[in-house]
Symmetry: C2
Subunit: 320 residues, 2 copies
Amino acid sequence: MSHTYDQPLRSVSSLDCGAAGVAVPVILIENETGLTKEVIRKWESRYGFPRPERDENGDRIYPPDQVVRLRLIRRLLGAGMRPGKVVGLELETLERLTEQMSLEPPGTTSDGFQQVLDALSGHDLPRLTHLLKGQLIRQGLSVFVRETVARLNVLIGECWLRGEINIFEEHLYTEAVCDLLHESIRTVINFSGSPRVLLTTAPGELHTIGLLMASTILSLEGAHCISLGAQMPAVEIVTAAKGCAIDVVGLSFSIARPARDAALFLRDLRARLDPAVEIWAGGVGVSRLRRMDGVRYMPDLEKVSPTITAWRKSRAGAAS
Amino acid sequence: MSHTYDQPLRSVSSLDCGAAGVAVPVILIENETGLTKEVIRKWESRYGFPRPERDENGDRIYPPDQVVRLRLIRRLLGAGMRPGKVVGLELETLERLTEQMSLEPPGTTSDGFQQVLDALSGHDLPRLTHLLKGQLIRQGLSVFVRETVARLNVLIGECWLRGEINIFEEHLYTEAVCDLLHESIRTVINFSGSPRVLLTTAPGELHTIGLLMASTILSLEGAHCISLGAQMPAVEIVTAAKGCAIDVVGLSFSIARPARDAALFLRDLRARLDPAVEIWAGGVGVSRLRRMDGVRYMPDLEKVSPTITAWRKSRAGAAS
DNA sequence: TATACCAAACCGTCCTGGACAAACAGCCCT
DNA sequence: AGGGCTGTTTGTCCAGGACGGTTTGGTATA
């Protein structure tokens, strides 16, 4: 049973241990890897990996190095590789594949982004805020969100996957960006715009930074955003859409959770929701989703503006 | 391109059903009820409830009425009832229990609070914001947070428990308050105060509104707050405390999650953390926690100011 | 060469039934 | 009232099996 984190440890070497320094019990392995415990156990029996140790009760305990490999595997699967090909590969092989897969070759990190990463590693919060704010002023809110923040998210996600930064450092970044976006949104908020967009995420999807980015862009485009935070059950979304006279339900999907759940959730929601209410699915996770009728997919925020225009046009046409 | 690894969509016949009552397959039952499929299956064998139907493959399908009952049961469990007492009770009994559960007798809600509730039920977001802002101006930030917000949280939690408001309405409230607090914090933020406080929550604890309230009060008292958001593993907190030269780790506990996890987490964290770094545990959840050496407990925000004063005094004494 | 089709392999999820330790409740004792 | 003991409750894990949708890859067809 063994709940927690209190298992001593197996400390990995000194400096870089950070995120992966402690053996992980079953109950936490889903959080650590984004894979379900069931699928991990199946891999164990099918491919011989992972090969967890056992605690005094016979429960599985995943050593840090295996957790790292699982994370890498998860990432490769998300990029289209097949479990049979990558589960059980050595760390080095996985890393090589990951690099081959990464959109930008290593070492091409631009200067500005490198400064942000340095501020993060140095835990220099004031500097981090200053860098972000400067860029915001330079680019303007819309470009800042669509390009800088979007690419920083990917970059930092990759650094985290490679274990180059700690979880808490990633959170520092997230907090700084969200703070800035909150502040900025306030200046463009719109209580009477259209369409009226309800923003939230599916149950199990915790990341709200995507919502905040969407909210920023949508507000800039003149929409009226109502954010519900994360994890809204389908029934509640239906109720909220009715109660708040919503035109569009906006959902954000990260890559953190299995795509299968996301697809099922979308089908379920679409079936229950008033057909007149559109569903717009955004976030980096949607690229893995199979397209479905009645849902608009926006893998990036560039699509928002034309989609809003189209919505207004169709709405005007329908009204006349 | 998107040859995703996780596409398998088992055909869910519930798609064709109407919006109102839809039978729920296993894979969605966790989203709909907030309970794990494993625990639901255990209840089935132990208490004879739920008693799902089966689809053509022999997989469980939960009828809508059983889903409703499961939701009610979860509410009661969250309020401290035990599974053996409530699982399998009839719908009516569950509803009666839910009503009895409220701490305050109905009808004692003060006028101002009633207005907030009305704005919520009416989904009148501008009015809600207006009410909160007015109260903030009237009382000042500190009193507003320590009294109004604190009591509103309890009140709205109870309304949710009794089913008088929907989940999404509770989220609307939370968003409005957090927005307001974010805005207010910015005016009192402090990049060079002391003590340097790291604010976060334990893994599994998702509510960050308590952090925001704490951050407000602490900043007002001249502390330097660094917020990491929710769900920080103990190891990460230790690393962060070192990296950011933290004096105090502040943790918020709600009543939503089981208290046992919280206690284990605190013990683990205390054992790993530099003894010179204090741990302050706050939030409505701490009242259930057994006291422990090396941790200061603050069931409400009134304790913050004297505790900071004491910290400064002891720190001054130690330095001299 | 390109496309359509089909069998085989792959792979995620659900199944049954059992085990166990942590958490709890009730009791006794001081 | 408070602290320690004991029996019960309850969430999570284990093992191995089954199944059906998806992908793959080879073959036949245009």
